[in-house]
């Protein structure tokens, strides 16, 4: 600090993107994650795929509907949403996201139709393009964050990996929860799902800790944003999110898998899904707490 203080200025807008955008990212993680994780199990265990063929489209459609709803609600001109398709500007990750999510909705509808009619071949035909579309639906938000030049905390490749890990974590947590609720007895699948969950949680936590340690070296802006996140006004939300998303679930799911006490999966999955929203929200807010001009 150079002993300087702003003594006259106008009131500046603080949070531009708030909880609606956090909910968008959170719901999209579940929607795309349930597709990516579900597809893996359908391909790996074709003899036990009924559970995933049913819940993949249902979970996907519910959470992509939430994603789209909050996206449109967040627009200041929600009834002009259609313009994104008519006046598409393809340098924008927002535009690419709108198109790729629209394609993902079609994939999910076809998957749903395949489950309703029992037409397995239909799903098998769309599986590979569906995987590619789900992958890009997951990562386009990282592109938006990367294009948000003003918010230097968000760096594109790092956000891309975090989006993918969030999707895998959220998808596996959602399936583990459903397996407990509907008392699905597939131990080997449950065990493998738990390992995927723990692995993605561990990598994601490592990514966030790495960002806290290294992002502060990028620039003064990132340094200040990390301070707000780790020690400032967002610290309680962020650390609670870290605790709920990674520490509690890793312990509970680990115990559930090793000791075959699968009832712990329910609490672990719920904790991870709640915590993920808190982390996404605090990560979204942190760079918006600093003045840009």
């Amino acid at each position: 600090m150079l002993g300087a203080e702003v003594t006259f200025d106008v009131a500046l807008p603080k949070v531009v993107w708030g909880w609606l955008v956090s909910t968008n990212m959170w719901a999209k993680s579940i929607a795309t994650g349930s597709f990516l994780v579900g597809l893996y199990f359908i391909k790996k265990y074709p003899e036990k795929d009924a559970f995933f063929r049913k819940w993949l489209p249902i979970l996907g459609l519910i959470f992509i509907a939430i994603t789209l709803l909050v996206t449109v609600l967040d627009l200041h001109h929600m009834f002009r949403f259609w313009k994104i398709f008519v006046f598409a500007h393809f340098t924008s990750a927002v535009t690419l996201g709108a198109w790729v999510v629209s394609a993902f909705v079609i994939v999910l509808l076809l998957s749903f139709w395949s489950w309703v009619t029992g037409n397995r071949k239909l799903f098998d035909k769309i599986a590979i393009p569906g995987f590619i579309i789900a992958f890009f639906s997951t990562i386009y938000t990282a592109g938006i964050m990367g294009q948000s030049t003003a918010r230097e905390l968000w760096v594109f490749p790092v956000e891309l990996f975090q989006m993918l890990l969030s999707a895998v974590l959220a998808g596996s947590a959602a399936y583990l929860l459903l397996m407990q609720i509907f008392n699905v007895q597939m131990e080997d699948v449950k065990r493998e799902l738990s390992f995927i969950f723990i692995g993605s949680a561990f990598l994601s936590a490592a990514g966030y800790i790495g960002e806290l340690l290294f992002a502060r070296m990028h620039s003064e802006f990132s340094h200040r944003a990390v301070e707000i996140l780790a020690f400032g006004e967002l610290a309680p939300m962020f650390w609670l999110g870290m605790f709920l998303t990674f520490i509690i679930p890793i312990v509970l799911v680990g115990v559930a898998t090793e000791k075959k006490k699968y009832e712990y999966l329910t609490l672990g999955s719920i904790s991870a899904l709640i915590g993920l929203w808190l982390i996404k929200h605090s990560w979204l807010l942190a760079p918006q707490m600093l003045p840009l001009s």
């Binding site: 702003v6 006259f8 009131a11 807008p13 313009k83 003064e220």
Partner: protein, 211 residues
């Protein structure tokens, strides 16, 4: 033609004539600003200095707002101005997230993004931007950067202390400052305590227009 702006900070006396004329010319609603003047006090009595900094859109050559706008509501004009099409804007506020200069706002009346356009409507008919006309000390210098005979080009040539805001972001602003300082141009180089200070309440708005 590449229109640009230069502010000689040694001439600015913080009278706000530019901000007021901008408001009047562009019918900018309450709580929104296309151009504002920030005061920063530096040092301790008796060694105190006050900096006045007019802040507006930088009309970057590599504009992050233009790149991220999903519907091209923000677009380049042939003269280099980054313009806004209010009727096309969907109000996603991506431009506000991308602009490193906090130059864009959501108009609470139209619900569309808006910002300084260098008074594109006045330039079209051969007039200077309103803030240039209103400035009593000619601190605002406006003109064609491609014309070596323009006042702004000569000014840039004659001064070695030309600065832009956040050059490290590679946005290539076409808005320059001379006789500036880090304290004046870097928002993180000064503290911004919320509450009543000199004449007004310096604060952050919790919500932006429309929501």
């Amino acid at each position: 033609m590449r229109l640009g702006f230069l502010v000689d900070l040694s001439r600015c006396m913080g009278c706000m004539a530019c901000a007021v004329s901008c408001k009047a010319e562009n019918d900018v609603p309450l709580n929104s600003w296309r151009l504002r003047v920030k005061y920063i006090d530096q040092g301790e009595f008796p060694y105190v200095k006050r900096h006045f900094v007019p802040l507006r859109c930088n009309h970057c050559e590599n504009a992050p707002c233009e790149r991220i706008c999903p519907v091209s509501a923000l677009h380049y004009l042939p003269n280099g101005i980054v313009n806004v099409d209010h009727n096309r804007c969907i109000g996603c506020a991506s431009c506000m997230m991308a602009c490193p200069y906090n130059a864009i706002y959501i108009d609470p009346i139209t619900n569309s993004a808006d910002k300084c356009t260098y008074c594109a409507h006045r330039i079209e008919v051969g007039m200077m931007p309103a803030c240039v006309v209103a400035c009593p000390t000619h601190a605002n210098i406006f003109g064609d950067l491609d014309d070596p005979e323009s006042e702004i080009s000569k000014y840039l040539k004659e001064h070695r202390d030309v600065m832009v805001r956040k050059p490290e972001l590679n946005t290539k602003p076409k808005h320059f400052y001379v006789r500036g300082s880090t304290v004046a141009l870097d928002p993180l180089a000064s503290e911004r305590p919320e509450g009543y200070t000199l004449f007004t309440e310096v604060k952050f708005l919790d919500h932006i227009g429309g929501h």
